[in-house]
């Protein structure tokens, strides 16, 4: 249809590098009111929390034996608590913990 010389043609769409690690520009840890807390003895590694977390906060640890929560990005939606097959996750009020302080200067 168009007579575009081959050396000037560009491929359809565009390619951007996918975030393979954390996105420090989009920290959402300060949205959280209730934090999911894992009881390791109840967990059977069904990986529901890993799959359902919208921010990919649950990941396997290095040994691959337990899931760990990244508090910096967990925004407290508590979907993981709903989806946990063995009720190994409970929700705990954020002020009960001393850690998990994000302290941004502006909201986003």
């Amino acid at each position: 249809m168009f007579n575009i010389p081959k050396e000037k043609a560009v491929p359809l769409g565009c390619v951007t590098p996918a975030p393979v690690t954390e996105q420090p520009m989009m920290i959402t840890g300060n949205w959280r009111e209730f934090r999911p807390v894992l009881e390791p003895e109840k967990c059977d590694l069904c990986m529901n929390c890993v799959v359902f977390c919208p921010d990919a906060c649950f990941q396997l640890d290095e040994a691959g034996e337990m899931v760990v929560l990244n508090e910096k990005y967990c925004k407290g939606c508590n979907i993981c608590i709903n989806e946990c097959a063995t009720d190994a996750l409970i929700k705990v009020y954020e002020l009960d913990f001393d850690d998990g302080v994000v302290r941004l200067e502006t909201p986003f």
Partner: protein
């Protein structure tokens, strides 16, 4: 020379506390206006549109003379900071821009010490007021009436904003409880908040 403009910043959770945060700012400004003061109350433009649970700001200004910086859209140096959800103290530098001798009002069931340990720049504060607003009048109202210039069908101060405003009147003399009572709808919660507020002077 213009007199000092008192800047008040309200922190609330997006969507779920949008109405409550707005009620605190509006109620404060309307009550101070009954004293013959010049006031204004507005949302933070940068924080909008808000998403659920995002920390967002509402502003109020009270002055004895006409507010010259009326069209400045942020409170750079808040004198009073009100936090409608206590978990925000872990996630934000809520005292940013505050000069020494400010006041903090937190809606929480915890003691003032438990809140202050999360605030590294707490030496800026001269007073902290804690009020268990949810115990006084239950959960907050989730409503969009009154937002972006719309008609406020619910009225100011139906939910947790009423006890927070009552607690605020304990810590400051910018507004009186009688003027707040003329504005706020939930009178009982306002007075309970005024009575049950835990006021602690610092330094």
């Amino acid at each position: 020379m213009a007199s000092k403009v008192h800047q008040i910043t309200v922190w609330a959770r997006g969507v779920v506390q949008d109405k409550e945060g707005r009620d605190i700012a509006n109620g404060l400004a309307n009550a101070a206006e009954k004293d013959g003061k010049f006031t204004q109350a507005f949302d933070n433009y940068v924080d909008l549109p808000d998403r659920v649970n995002v920390p967002l700001r509402k502003y109020a200004r009270i002055s004895d003379e006409e507010i010259e910086e009326r069209y400045e859209y942020e409170n750079e140096k808040p004198e009073i900071v009100i936090v409608a959800d206590a978990t925000i103290v872990k996630g934000m530098n809520i005292l940013r821009g505050m000069e020494k001798g400010g006041m903090l009002v937190v809606a929480t069931d915890r003691k003032p010490e438990d809140i202050l340990k999360f605030i590294p720049n707490r030496d800026l504060l001269s007073t902290i007021v804690c009020i268990d607003a949810k115990a006084i009048c239950g959960e907050q109202t989730v409503d969009f009436s009154g937002s972006e210039g719309g008609v406020d069908s619910l009225g100011i101060g139906q939910g947790i904003s009423a006890p927070i405003l009552g607690a605020l009147a304990r810590g400051t003399n910018l507004v009186t409880l009688d003027n707040l009572a003329a504005v706020v709808k939930n009178q009982e919660a306002l007075r309970k908040g005024h009575e049950q507020a835990v006021v602690q002077a610092l330094n």
